[in-house]
């Protein structure tokens, strides 16, 4: 207690708390539109940020909670489908036409609730079992959306979903969409970083490290884990809303098993020990996806991404972040816990 008190007496300024690397990165991301074409702005900038958000929701669960989930795309899919169902689409099925300020909070909230439910099912198990159960849930949701025509419009899904226009800005245009993605990503990134040092975040990490001890001390381990799922669901839900605006459509292909695995690939390739990892992984994934046509042709993209993934898992279990740390300890953030 005294330690914390003495720490608090010297309050560092806001800039000092944020740190030089973050400021430099922030400036770079803010100025990126000045040099980037529309294609680079949306297809690489915006898309990397929103895929990074999906990876971030997994990083929160896996890095801080020790729960590797393959259902994050399912949760994002719930939000994406909600936007299509409650908002407007041109498919002729549902599309209740509610305004964006109603559908977006509803979509994100639903994603959070669904995530908490998935969490409630899977927290009774650990490790591999969590992976297996979340993979089973993700696959089941995919087949269900594929077969259900009343709510999900079956195999074709929904098309013609537009990002809203407000404050005189069309948020589907490249520049506004990029800044929208950046804003959401920065808020979520900062929230995860801040939350990791909060009482809840520290408790969650303690549960990850020694669940039995935390239970013995008297913490409600299950409640903490389910709440972590809820928070990760909010982030994944935000990513899902951005994703459906980005694509303009949502179909079972959006929530397929391959997409579920892509999120894991992004998070693991980037690194699960720091929230910046998933964004790094997303950037590499998106760059590969865009430029793989020049390397191996569009058809064999999955072989390429699979091999890159295998290579990184074999070389560095901590992904790109781990590699950076091996090259120079000062380059990457300190590990969250001593290497074990």
């Amino acid at each position: 207690m005294t330690l914390v008190a003495t720490d608090r007496t010297r309050t560092p300024g806001l800039l000092e708390r944020i740190g030089a690397p973050h400021l430099a990165l922030g400036a770079l991301l803010l100025l990126y539109p000045a040099i980037a074409s529309d294609f680079f702005l949306t297809q690489i900038g915006g898309f990397s940020l929103l895929m990074g958000l999906l990876g971030l929701s997994l990083m929160l669960l896996a890095g801080y909670g020790g729960m590797v989930s393959l259902a994050q795309i399912t949760i994002a899919g719930v939000a994406a489908y909600s936007v299509a169902i409650f908002g407007e689409n041109n498919t002729g099925v549902l599309g209740l036409g509610w305004p964006w300020w109603l559908t977006v909070p509803l979509a994100v909230g639903l994603a959070g609730i669904v995530s908490a439910l998935i969490g409630a099912i899977s927290v009774r198990t650990e490790g591999i079992y969590t992976i297996m159960i979340t993979l089973a849930i993700a696959t089941g949701f995919y087949y269900f959306t594929n077969q259900n025509y009343a709510i999900f419009n079956g195999h074709s899904g929904f098309a013609g979903i537009k990002a809203p226009v407000f404050w005189g800005i069309n948020w589907r245009d490249p520049l506004p969409f990029y800044y929208l993605c950046l804003a959401v990503a920065v808020v979520c990134y900062a929230a995860v970083l801040y939350g990791a040092r909060s009482t809840f975040g520290l408790t969650l990490q303690a549960v990850r490290d020694n669940q039995r001890r935390m239970r013995a001390i008297g913490y409600d381990v299950t409640a903490h884990k389910v709440f972590a799922w809820f928070l990760a669901g909010i982030i994944a839900g935000l990513a899902g809303v951005l994703l459906v605006w980005f694509n303009g459509r949502v179909s079972p292909g959006t929530v397929s098993v391959q997409a579920a695995i892509s999120v894991l690939v992004i998070a693991v390739v980037g690194g699960l020990r720091h929230p910046i990892g998933p964004f790094l992984g997303a950037l590499i994934y998106v760059m590969l996806e865009v430029f793989a046509i020049d390397l191996v042709g569009a058809e064999r993209f999955n072989t390429l991404i699979g091999l890159v993934f295998l290579l990184i898992v074999f070389v560095s279990p901590d992904g790109i972040l781990g590699l950076l740390r091996q090259i120079g300890p000062g380059l990457a953030d300190k590990p969250l816990r001593p290497d074990d």
Binding site: V68, I121, R124, T125, G127, I128, Y129, I131, M132, I133, L135, A136, I137, T139, G140, Y143, F144, Q147, N148, Y149, A150, V257, Q258, I261, L264, V265, V268, E299, R300, F301, N302, T303, I305, G306, L307, F309, L310, V313, F314, P317
Partner: protein, 348 residues
């Protein structure tokens, strides 16, 4: 031996005498079951269950599908039980087996050679995977899982490159084709001759093959020396290694049998249903749900899980087509809620 036998008979007789109510109920239940199969159904029962033909077909289809699921999932659970790694490329093994079976069976003209090739080639692939991949990552669950996911991504893409997106059908030989008359009475014609339910012979063979392999696996695990080592390895790997057993060799055998079973199931499934991209995911899902429900690492659990899921899927297909998948997941969630370790799983 005979003493124990007579003792158990005596106990059985005693419990029979002590619980007349339960025995009576069981007898009545068995009689109803026999009547349901061989007898004609009254109209009200037909009205509830669409028709006897639809219902009985759903049950039989469910049983044969369960046989297929058991073949895939038994290999999956066998590998997991001993080596504690989820081979998430297991669905890819199924699909590769199906393609190899198709190629060999069409080129040689002999279906049985295709089946054997499916088993053998995949057994070799399994050993290679064990030696090249898993031996390096021993004890590191998460990395094993990630690597097998990576392998499944690459494998699915390469299989798409080689065999394309077309659907293949492996043709079973003539002696396995055609339908047999089952002793299930459907109706009685006006001239008094009974109508029995015909059922595809091949599907019944699939079911009996699954039962035979299940019994074979049980015998291998419980009656052979290798089975003894495997069971010892499930309980305490370090102790098995310390007592002088070449654990690596045992692992390789288990992986060969597990992967070979997936390949065999691929050829059988490709003959009963069809071969197409995406089947790898379908059978991975089936294996996952079957072992989650049945209890991981248990052959008996895989059989129970496969029965539940196969029957649920086929009955769901007839009575609520869209929600068949949901029924499967209701079973999974309910099982997890009551027994997180699965029906036959050991509490850890």
């Amino acid at each position: 031996m005979s003493m124990r036998d007579s003792a158990s008979t005596a106990i059985a007789a005693a419990s029979l005498g002590r619980r007349p109510l339960w025995v009576g109920l069981a007898l009545v239940g068995a009689a109803i079951l026999v009547w349901l199969v061989v007898g004609l159904w009254p109209d009200w029962l037909n009205a509830i269950l669409l028709s006897k033909k639809a219902f009985v077909s759903a049950i039989l289809n469910g049983l044969t599908l369960a046989g297929l699921y058991f073949l895939v999932a038994s290999g999956f659970t066998l590998v997991f039980g001993l080596m504690r790694n989820v081979n998430l490329a297991h669905g890819s093994l199924y699909l590769l087996g199906a393609y190899i079976g198709y190629e060999v069976a069409t080129r040689t003209g002999y279906w049985l050679i295709g089946v054997a090739a499916g088993f053998l080639v995949l057994a070799v692939v399994g050993i290679l995977m064990q030696v090249i991949v898993f031996r390096r990552l021993e004890g590191d669950d998460l990395r094993q899982t990630l690597v097998t996911i990576g392998i499944s991504i690459v494998a699915a893409d390469l299989m798409l490159a080689v065999w394309g997106g077309t659907t293949y059908q492996i043709t079973p030989p003539l002696w396995l084709e055609g339908a047999v008359q089952t002793p299930i009475l459907l109706a009685v014609r006006s001239n008094g001759s009974p109508v029995y339910l015909p059922y595809p012979f091949f599907r019944l063979v699939v079911l009996f093959l699954a039962i035979a392999i299940g019994v074979g696996l049980w015998l291998m695990l419980n009656k052979t020396r290798v089975g003894m080592m495997i069971r010892a390895g499930v309980d305490d790997r370090a102790m098995l290694s310390a007592s002088g057993v070449n654990v690596h060799a045992v692992f390789a055998i288990v992986f060969a049998v597990g992967a070979g079973l997936a390949g065999l199931a691929g050829v059988i499934g490709g003959s009963a249903l069809s071969v197409a991209p995406g089947e790898d995911v379908r059978y991975l899902l089936a294996s996952l749900v079957v072992v989650i429900v049945g209890g991981m690492g248990s052959i008996m659990g895989a059989a129970i899980g496969a029965l539940l899921i196969g029957l649920a899927e086929q009955i769901g297909l007839i009575y609520f087509p869209t929600y068949g998948v949901v029924l499967t997941f209701v079973i999974m969630v309910v099982t997890l809620a009551i027994r997180p370790q699965g029906i036959m799983g050991k509490a850890r």
